[in-house]
Amino acid sequence: MQKILMKGNDAVAEAAVQAGCNLYFGYPITPQTEISEYLSRRLPDTGGVFLQAESEIGAIYMVYGAAAAGKRVMTSSSGPGFSLKQEGISYLCSAELPCVLVNISRGGPGLGNIQPSQADYFQAVKGGGHGDYRVLVLAPCSVQELVDLTYLAFYLADKYRNPVEILGDGMLGQMMEPVVFRNPDYPDISKEEWVITGKKTRERRIILCFALDPKELEKLNLHLAEKYAEMERSEVLYEVYGSEQPELLLVGYGTVGRILKSVVREAEKQGIRLALVRPVTLYPFPKEILRGQARKAGKALVVEMNLGQMVEDVKLSVEGDVPVYFHGRSGGMIPTVEEIMHRVEEILLKGGEARENNL
């Protein structure tokens, strides 16, 4: 298959088209605007719809309407724009409407900046809006994985009738890498049973996002919980890399995940055995592999481009069995291999006396 040199944002957009995305609604925000620009050129040629919304709020409810019509639909944004979409994401989960959300995240809080960051981890995996819900979260570490996970995202959204978020960052969105488009041809999930089309000759249908009777609402929430439990059983994705007998386990996702691969290789040159677990699904979180690998290594170091968010889930996963250290950079700063190596040496040399975090 042909390799194409492509920018991450363009690659997501192209993969979405190939995955059968019929409609896209978005609002410009750096560093993801190329997704909108690409689809404004490309979608009309495929018979699809591109519409620039008046706001992120407008965009997410256009997604809501198109998803109710049973179409494959996507929106994308970054940091502040994703905050505005949170209300709609909660409604999409409640109404069980499938869609794909792409967050090419940037530095926060507030307007923050337009540099790469992982500061939106909590918002993405813990449910950034109101109510008791979950969004499947996929975390690519390369342009190729952005493409592959975009195909997967549309399939999982339909399979679970739930939004799926691709959580990238400004680095992945903006960088160019060679990429191959291999559409895996996931099975089609029929939407015949629930889709809104006008009633035609059938009984009318209603898409609801509320139940004023608490017994009914609890029933809906328990039904959602069953879906989340099924995601946890069936959809966990991760990559394990490095030594089979590690002295220390590294944990990082996305852009940091690939930096940590360089750290593993650099350490090997110096005779230090490291292993890496790179979660690819952030929800569901790869708890079991983390627990196993952390026990084997005896200690773990979590590296993130934020002040410590996923580290909480790593700690929950290892259940206090081993010490969990943290190294984070924030505000759009990207950790270097050198600084992480320094931290690794500090932890391995000082052991229990090493600082828990770098702050």
């Binding site: 997410i60 809501y64 309407g65």
Partner: protein
């Protein structure tokens, strides 16, 4: 035997749950009559509001999508863009459409979105118990303007039809009352024109219904009807705000 009056097919046989004297029931019935007469029930989709009429889907025998407060025009946009041959309408109260959802309705109109909005204006937040709305008139007492709405402190009522009138995408805008049989007959023709504006792909259409809320206005139903005619209609003059003549619609 000749049938001279019957329940419209699209109006389900469910007792209305609205307060006595409220005109949501009348507006629902008019929608049902017009949907039946145009023969569009099989391909019409309603998008509901958050507010008293959040239960509209209970009463009309058509597909419905319920969503968030104020966002119905955006949801309707998504539906219409996905299903361009279906008829899509939103049904919204004044808090929904003229406060929290102002952005969504203005931009839907500006795009000339091929949807119809039915806007029930009772100058108050009904479901939450009678708070000041964007359409509350000067001097009107509500639970959050207990001394009467002061234009100095709380500004002026928002006249949505007049606001949308300047937008080129707006093809049909009208304000109606349902307080007398004559007005109801006139309103029905307005409802029909709103749907036809969409069906004939002329642009965005909106019908504003001035509607009584005896419960929150603390009036009897009869007093509330009189207040709509004598006071509310004075602030919000009924009629076609932008008719087919003006937008070059053949009719």
């Amino acid at each position: 035997m000749k049938t001279i009056f019957e329940r419209p097919k699209t109006l389900l046989e469910k007792p209305f749950t609205y307060c006595p004297g409220c005109h949501h029931g009348l507006a629902h019935r008019l929608l049902a009559e017009v949907i039946d007469e145009l023969g569009i029930a099989d391909h019409t989709i309603g998008v509901g509001p958050v507010g008293c009429s959040v239960y509209i889907y209970v009463f009309l025998d058509i597909d419905f999508v319920m969503g968030a407060h104020g966002r119905a025009p955006a949801t309707a946009t998504g539906l219409k863009r996905a299903l361009p041959e279906q008829v899509v309408f939103s049904y919204q109260g004044d808090g929904d459409i003229a406060a929290i959802g102002t952005s969504e309705i203005i931009h839907s109109a500006a795009r000339g979105e091929l949807i119809s909005a039915f806007f029930i204006n009772n100058a108050i937040f009904g479901m939450t118990g009678g708070q000041m709305a964007p359409t509350t008139i000067s001097g009107q007492v509500t639970t959050t303007s207990p001394r009467g709405r002061s234009t100095v402190d709380q500004g002026y009522p928002l006249k949505l039809c007049e606001l949308l009138r300047g937008l080129e995408g707006s093809a049909y805008l009208a304000r109606v009352l349902l307080t007398r049989p004559k007005y109801i007959r006139e309103a029905k023709e307005v409802f029909r024109k709103a749907f036809l504006t969409q069906i004939e792909k002329k642009g965005f259409s909106l019908v504003e219904v001035l509607s009584p809320c005896p419960t929150n206005w603390k009036m009897t139903p009869a007093e509330a009807v009189a207040w709509v005619e004598n006071t509310l209609a004075h602030s919000f003059p009924p009629g076609e705000i932008k008719g087919w003549e003006e937008t070059g619609h053949a009719g």
